[in-house]
Amino acid sequence: MLSLLQKIREAVNKTQVFKSIFRHGYPDTDGNRALVMFSNIILHLHPVRVRRGALKIKFTWCLGGLTFLFFILLAITGVILMFYYVPDTRRAYNDIRDLETVIYFGSLFRAVHRWSAHAMVFSVWMHMTRVFMTGSYKPPREFNWVVGVILLVTTLVLSWTGYLLPWDQLALWAVTVGSKMAEATPFIGAAGPFGPELGFGPENDMAFALLGGTIVGQSALLRFYVLHCLALPLITALFIAVHFWRIRKDGFSGPL
């Protein structure tokens, strides 16, 4: 049975189609195992060889990779949810109701999106804690820690902007709490220290910029939608790329 499978695989590996896609044989020789890291766009994030210590689960707990996985899950389910959702205050809530009740697997996609979001916030925190505890931010990896903090911020803002989109009571009031804080920004918030003195009122302050108005309404929903589905994922993906690139350039800090 095994030899039959092997024969089939060998036959497939010889076809023009297989060769055109992978450019080398199945990675069962050292040479092909190295080549696969060069020729595969996803695998090329890895080096060809790693130190044995890098495989120790008790060192990394897979947390950085898990965070990336949750980001990918969020991107996939997010795109699916976008097919069914219109950021209009008159229909956003009903679109979510449809997802829950009418659309095949709508409820599941929404639940996976939500759980992945919670998991991503949590795994980012855990990953940062691990990186601190192993001192992996120390030279020459200082800047990658900074990139990591930026990714922490984009993760939190992504979660927060997504919170508004279902347009239910939970969404509206959680975002209202946040916009009250934006109103209190020092110097540029209407209710913040020195804000009114510098000419900032409810019609031109930080909260106004965030919400596109003085209340959490249609402009706020559109802004949060665009930030959540377009701007922030792009920024996050960019910084993830830098983050991974720097891991490769700075090397891995783990044990032998």
Partner: protein, 284 residues
């Protein structure tokens, strides 16, 4: 013919480079016998990890689908109004600090402090392995901040009910707790009445009437930072010497500010102090 030669020469350099890569690692200086090929060793580990994580997410999604409440309405304010759990630490801080501090200045300080960590920690030991004994100070400070963050979130999630009052798990969460906020009092009023200080202002700067008691609260806040900066400088010379002037001042600023958060919480809980410092523009 010549084309063929150059082609094969290219192949040779390419393959020799490749064989070098097979032996080499990202770190470069590690002996090959201490390294393994990423395929299959790491790739398979990642695959297993990924499958476990996706299974957990799918399981959670099936047993606990995403909630959907009533349609958003500006007319009905839920009580309590809770932010998502990862922001409940900040929302809990709103009990003890005004929104400009709890929602803006403190989170900004946290993030800037986090960004600065690698530049403020000059200790070369403890890189790439878990250790407490080789880097006690940084470990303790980070763990303290982290503990504080999680404690605030824990309180926000599990102990805050109607009107953001404190509820034990065995309390009836549908009944309002008796209001206790009315007896809160500013530190300068406490000082004024207990020390018998004059209520008339020493100087008036526009809207700001500076009384003796108010000046005293400035002195107390200044002393909090002043003592914090001076004591390690005088008595822990080694600590200061290792950090140097710029790093020392940054470390101490963030450290003292972080310690100020639980201190304000305690002052509020134990002495019912609302603000330790009051100006017409901001209150702390």
């Amino acid at each position: 013919m010549s084309e063929k030669v150059s082609d094969s020469a290219q192949v040779t350099t390419k393959s020799s480079r490749l064989s070098a890569m097979i032996k080499k690692t990202a770190a470069g200086k590690v002996a090959p016998e201490n390294t393994v090929l990423v395929w299959p060793n790491l790739v398979y580990l990642e695959l297993i990890c990924m499958m476990v994580a996706v299974s957990v997410i799918l399981f959670l999604s099936l047993v606990a689908p995403a909630p959907l409440e009533e349609l958003a309405s500006a007319d009905t304010t839920p009580n309590p109004t809770k932010a998502p759990w990862y922001f409940l630490g900040l929302q809990e801080l709103l009990v003890y600090f005004d929104p400009w501090l709890a929602g803006m200045v403190l989170p900004t300080l946290m993030l800037v402090g986090l960004i600065l960590i690698p530049y403020l920690d000059p200790n070369p030991r403890g890189k790439g392995y878990y250790t407490f004994s080789e880097r006690k100070f940084s470990m303790l400070v980070f763990s303290f901040g982290l503990g504080l963050w999680y404690a605030l979130i824990f309180v926000g999630v599990f102990f805050r009910g109607l009107d953001w009052s404190w509820y034990w798990p065995w309390d009836d969460w549908h009944v309002h707790q008796p209001a206790g906020a009315a007896k809160l009092i500013d530190l300068e009023i406490i000082l004024q009445s207990s020390l018998g200080l004059s209520e008339s202002p020493l100087i008036t700067l526009g809207r700001y009437a500076v009384t003796t008691a108010n000046l005293l609260t400035w002195v107390i806040l200044g002393a909090f930072y002043g003592i914090g900066f001076t004591v390690p400088f005088l008595f822990f010379r080694d600590f200061y010497r290792k950090l140097g002037f710029v790093r020392y001042n940054l470390v101490m600023f963030f450290f003292i500010s972080m310690m100020g958060v639980p201190m304000k919480i305690f002052v509020r809980l134990l002495a019912d102090v609302k603000y330790v410092l009051v100006t017409p523009w901001f209150k702390i």
